[in-house]
């Protein structure tokens, strides 16, 4: 039997909070973090922008040399380790693994450099030698190891917008394989710094716009008109339960189920049947029924077809589930891409303690195609008891991911 793995620390930066307590407070108080934003070539749009202090854990030179994704990763990793209460000085750094999900990496740095050499008539002798270390796909995870002197394995997981969950899943699996003793795992995104992502979504008819930026991201609402792109990050410290208990760690929850599958149908359009299968696989792995889930956090990006398809998939699985409640987080923070799954899961974890299901922000009128029983709108809903949270994250090329976290209790899970 595989060893049980638990979450013992959370480090995050979101457009509306730079640690879990700030983030949770904003979610419960209905405070979003979307702002007006302008980026070269594309112009005016909206975005979720993080205001964490990068210099808290990096020198100015490290920031200059590295990437925004690296800074976000380093901030989140330190915050997670600090939050875990582990004695970092005594940790064997060769036994720490770093697994960071990313939607994409390298677009920002490449665009910057093409822009820079455009000032020199595209003379490639002006192309920075920092380009390669900044754009290698492992950059965000690698920057963590450089900064924190971690000599265990590190890599990123490219998984489109399912990446936050895949980072978490990878960390859990590596702990179970004893490839590491402490995993720093989750997802990050620097995507607001590439004009390409805004232009591509816009040309796809999938970029949100609103006269009030705080109302631009409105998943499931009848007046939704697309995605708000955000930056952000969320990394967890994961440990085998036995190790966590041995050091008397605070336990946020236990990862009891997960699944990743592929639509195999379209580059961008989701497939509700495969999404439903992914949820069912995760439930099966956890030994749970749909009725056992208290909170389902939707992926729900705010696109017309994506939200409708996703809800169709959920309605297939969650039939006659009176205690199951549904929420979505992107109305508050936009779509944090590779960080989305991890951030949105983190935002719900405190429900194990406070029993609140945070509401969907900007969901003024539910689209009929997005109707779900117990969809939480308006105010947070106090539930009787929260023991199981299911988080979904789906991405382009048809990648689906689901994780199920259970409130930790002594004894069998």
């Amino acid at each position: 039997m595989l060893e049980r793995v638990v979450i013992t620390g959370v480090g995050l930066t979101a457009p509306n909070g730079n640690n879990l307590s700030e983030f949770r407070k904003a979610l419960l108080e209905g405070r979003g973090g979307i702002l007006d934003y302008e980026i070269r070539y594309f112009g005016k749009t909206h975005a979720g922008i993080c205001d964490f202090d990068a210099q808290k854990y990096q020198t100015k030179k490290e920031i200059r040399r590295g990437t925004r994704a690296g800074s976000i990763s380093i901030y989140c990793a330190h915050e997670a380790v600090n939050d875990s209460g582990i004695d970092w000085e005594s940790v064997d750094k060769s036994r720490v693994g770093v697994y960071v999900g990313v939607t994409e990496h390298g677009n920002v740095e490449t665009e910057n450099e093409v822009y820079n050499i455009s000032k020199y008539d595209y003379d490639t002798s002006m192309w920075t030698h920092h380009h390669n270390p900044r754009t290698v796909a492992n950059n965000p995870a690698g920057e963590i190891t450089l900064n924190m002197k971690i000599s265990g394995p590190h890599y990123t997981l490219g998984a489109a917008c399912a990446a936050g969950n895949t980072g978490l899943i990878q960390g859990m699996q590596m702990l179970q394989l004893h490839e590491c003793d402490l995993a720093i795992a989750g997802g990050v995104s620097e995507s607001i710094h590439t004009f390409g992502i805004f232009a591509a979504f816009d040309n796809q008819g999938a970029l949100a716009s609103n006269s009030d930026p705080l109302k631009a991201s409105r998943p499931l609402d009848v007046n939704r008109n697309g995605i708000v792109v955000s930056e952000g990050g969320c990394l967890f410290t994961l440990e085998r339960l036995s190790d966590a208990q041995a050091r008397g760690a605070k336990i946020y929850g236990e990862i009891v189920g997960y699944a990743i599958n592929s639509d195999a149908t379209d580059f961008v359009l989701p497939n509700p049947e495969r999404q439903a299968e992914c949820i069912e696989k995760a439930l099966e792995k956890a030994g749970l029924r749909p009725q056992d889930i208290d909170i389902v956090n939707l992926h729900a990006t705010g696109t017309h077809s994506g939200d409708a398809q996703e809800c169709a998939g959920l309605r297939k699985v969650f039939v006659d589930c009176p205690k199951t409640h549904f929420n979505a987080t992107k109305g508050f923070i936009g779509h944090a891409m590779g960080a989305a799954g991890a951030l949105e899961l983190a935002g719900n974890l405190p429900a194990f303690d406070d029993s609140f299901c945070h509401a969907c922000l900007n969901l003024d009128e539910v689209d009929e195609e997005c109707a779900l029983p117990n969809l939480v709108t308006g105010e947070p809903k106090a539930l009787e008891n929260v023991t199981c949270i299911l988080n979904t994250s789906f991405g382009m090329l048809g990648i689906n991911s689901v994780v199920i976290i259970k409130k930790f209790t002594e004894g069998a899970n």
């Binding site: 020198t59 100015k60 030179k61 200059r64 020199y120 002798s125 002006m126 920075t128 030698h129 920092h130």
Partner: protein, 83 residues
């Protein structure tokens, strides 16, 4: 550019390349590496900035001329005299 202007230009580049360093008491006759944390990537940054800002190209075999402020200014003076 005069030698003093070149020195100021190099100092400006150094402040960008090594933003954490206090350059106010930099000793011109002592090597940069003895006074501040500079690695090979930083030296490449200095070379790149000289190229970008002043169109001064420095061949790799001459990088050693950039050891200290004195040697750097001496090396750059003829290359930047007409700027």
């Amino acid at each position: 550019m005069t030698k003093e202007e070149i020195r100021e230009a190099v100092l400006d580049i150094l402040s960008d390349v090594a933003p954490d360093e206090d350059l106010s008491d930099l000793k011109d006759n002592v090597s940069f590496r003895e006074q501040m944390e500079l690695d090979s990537m930083d030296f490449l940054d200095i070379v790149m900035e000289l190229r970008r800002r002043f169109k001064v190209n420095i061949p790799e075999e001459e990088y050693t001329a950039l050891g200290s402020m004195d040697s750097t200014v001496e090396y750059l003076a003829p290359k930047m005299a007409d700027l």
